[in-house]
């Protein structure tokens, strides 16, 4: 028990250091007077640059929201500021009349949730095996994990369509949507990296005590790498939630389409006939964007450069 506590403490310490590394100001040493001076010299310019950048990055989102509330599209400069006379919730009702927003969100949720479930369950198993177990063929599995991340989707597009839609008849099904993304190799890599950080003596000790590997994984390893699970969920979430091409190919039935697909179909087919097409499109866009943005703002501490960096660079 004390071993585990020590490991937990060590792990927490690592996390803390990771976070600190993101804040140069918090670095305890190594930055003397010259660095402070340097920072003062560069601070103002950098700050202005970042502020201009942030405006360019955030303005479209602000404008998306304003536009979704306008009775008639106001594209003049004044239209960028809310005008109470021109505000309405009607666009949301309109888009909901054309495409069932709630059903779209639920479908997106099932698609994304399925991918995350497979990735986390099987990713933890293989990540743990690669980091802390010694077995024949480990090098092969590891090499495979690295190679898989380089397979271009363009090559898989046609054969997967032939297999999943034509041969297996999985069109218009959640399984057909999930299958090509089911296990995210980047997440496997993240799990392996985190499990590698745990001392192998911890696991040797548990094995000598007669614990089964599954029990070690469940009771010792997983509780120690909870941050890895959050990171992997966040990394995995972006893909299927935002994916358009594959579910677009697989689903023709609107009752199973993720929101991204039904909104895209609305943009390219239906919008022209609506009274305020942009209002409706932007209202749908807000509904599609909100869950992802909320999730990432809530978990932004976990979604930092060190995590992304370790996931792609090792």
């Amino acid at each position: 028990m004390s071993v585990i506590d020590a490991a937990t403490a060590a792990n927490n310490e690592n996390e803390k250091n990771d976070d600190d590394a993101g804040l140069p100001g918090a670095l305890p040493s190594g930055r003397g007077g010259s660095t402070v001076e340097k920072r003062r010299n560069l601070g103002v310019g950098s700050f202005v640059l970042l502020a201009v950048g942030a405006f360019v990055f955030l303005f479209p989102f602000y404008y998306m929201f304003i536009g979704s509330l306008q009775t008639s599209p106001d594209t003049s400069v004044a239209g960028a500021f809310p005008n109470p006379a021109n505000l309405t919730g009607e666009n949301y009702a309109n888009i909901n009349g054309s495409i069932d927003l709630l059903k779209g969100l639920v479908n997106s949720g099932i698609f994304t949730g399925g991918v995350i479930l497979f990735t986390v369950v099987f990713g933890l198993l293989v990540g743990y095996a690669l980091a802390q177990m010694h077995f024949r063929g480990k090098g092969f599995v590891f090499g495979m994990m690295l190679l898989v991340q380089m397979i271009p989707f363009q090559l898989l597009l046609i054969p997967l369509y032939v297999m999943i839609v034509r041969d297996y008849g999985l069109a218009d099904s959640y399984i057909g949507m999930i299958l090509p993304f089911a296990i995210n190799s980047t997440a496997v890599f993240v799990f392996r990296q985190y499990f590698m950080q745990l001392p192998s003596t911890l696991f040797e000790a548990a094995r000598i005590d007669g614990a089964s590997e599954l029990r070690i994984l469940w009771q010792i390893a997983i509780p120690l790498v909870r941050p890895a699970i959050v990171t992997a969920v966040l990394l995995t979430f972006i893909g299927p939630w935002n994916e358009f091409l594959w579910p677009f190919l697989v689903t023709k039935d609107s009752s199973i389409q993720p929101l991204a697909v039904s909104l895209a179909n609305y943009i390219s087919n239906v919008a022209a006939t609506a009274s305020n097409p942009f209002g409706a499109i932007l209202a749908g866009a807000c509904v599609l964007a909100a869950p992802a943005i909320a999730l990432f703002i809530f978990f932004q501490r976990q979604f930092i450069s060190t995590n992304i960096g370790s996931s792609v660079k090792g």
């Binding site: 993101g22 560069l42 990713g123 293989v126 480990k138 599995v141 271009p152 369509y161 358009f244």
Partner: protein, 326 residues
């Protein structure tokens, strides 16, 4: 992707951690180690099995299947119908390469890459560098840069359509300078506008990559440079830029792959292929030829050519950006 280079470390490290443990165990129960030819924890095989099966069935097999399809006269049939699909050699490749629409789509991707890759590398490095220096509002800035990246392209395409339409806000601000025909219906500007959109959308991810790389540059380098009287530009060009070189290789590679995968953005922003095919992407043609027109063999050949093209560009970029060390 840069896993190859940097992961020599951890990869070599994992057996290395195993070896000392194995040795110490060797001193006492030596026979126990040799007993199991599947390794000390053969259960690891079982733990890896679902992943390995998945990769073989859903990724490796289709990869080979794509090449097979591209060399045969392949057409869609009802499930489990046995038909003759004769080998046609390079016929599909010849069909694809002699198609003017395909040639146009590769030219479009060329325009896209020429705009997108330098902009992505330059802007993300400069912004990451600025983020690394500023302490106030750091979290706010970081979040604002990755908000477009985490949002569905389909959602933000809506607001770009709104901003860049004929009488949209952008043209209202430009006044008489507004292009005619407007951005997305202009055969000269359609592809650059798509490239600009994708740069904006993806930049947050690349900023995070550069931020990670910047953490690895030792502060002492900057300190000794400032002692030697190097100003901030000298420091940026002589320390920061070389210091993040391997990240730059990765960023150019990933940006190129994004470009080659382009589908959603031209499809929605420019209503399919844009004016006169000006923003048609190869993946859009794969969808059109393979799935809408029922020629999966031609589409598969296009996919193979596209991937070979990406590999060639990646090799060239690695030479250019990577220098000798990468």
């Amino acid at each position: 992707m840069s896993l190859r280079s940097s992961d020599g470390g951890p990869a070599a490290g994992s057996p290395a951690t195993g070896v000392p443990v194995g040795r110490t165990a060797d001193q006492r129960p030596a026979p126990r180690k040799r007993k199991n030819i599947l390794g000390r924890q053969p259960l690891g095989l079982l733990f890896s099995a679902p992943y390995v099966i998945y990769v073989l069935a859903v990724l490796a097999y289709p990869l080979g299947y794509a090449v097979y399809i591209s060399f045969h006269d392949f057409f869609f049939t009802a499930p489990r119908v046995k038909v003759d699909r004769p080998f046609v050699g390079l016929d599909n490749y010849i069909t694809v390469l002699s198609d003017p629409a395909v040639q146009r789509s590769f030219a479009n991707i060329g325009v896209f890459l020429v705009i997108n890759v330098p902009l992505t590398v330059g802007l993300s490095l400069v912004l990451a560098n600025a983020l690394n220096r500023v302490t106030k509002l750091r979290t706010f800035f970081r979040v604002s840069y990755y908000v477009p990246y985490v949002t569905a392209s389909v959602a933000v395409v809506g607001v770009w359509l709104f901003l860049f339409q004929q009488n949209g806000l952008v043209n209202a601000l430009l006044g008489p300078l507004a292009p005619n025909p407007s951005w997305l219906t202009n055969s000269w500007l359609a592809m650059p506008t798509v490239a600009l959109y994708v740069t904006w959308k993806q930049l947050g991810f690349f900023i995070l990559l550069y931020l990670a790389a910047l953490q690895n540059i030792p502060d002492e380098l900057y300190e000794s440079a400032s002692v030697d009287g190097g100003n901030k530009w000298v420091q940026f060009w002589n320390i920061t830029v070389p210091g993040v070189r391997s990240a730059s290789v990765l960023v150019t590679l990933l940006a190129t792959i994004t470009g080659a995968n382009l589908f959603t953005e031209p499809y929605l922003l420019t209503g399919g292929g844009g004016p006169d095919g000006a923003s048609t992407s190869p993946v859009f043609l794969m969808y059109q030829k393979g799935i809408l027109q029922g020629n999966p063999d031609v589409a598969a050949a296009l996919g193979v050519i596209l991937v070979i093209g990406v590999l060639l560009i990646a090799l060239i970029q690695k030479r250019l950006v990577g220098g000798k060390e990468a």
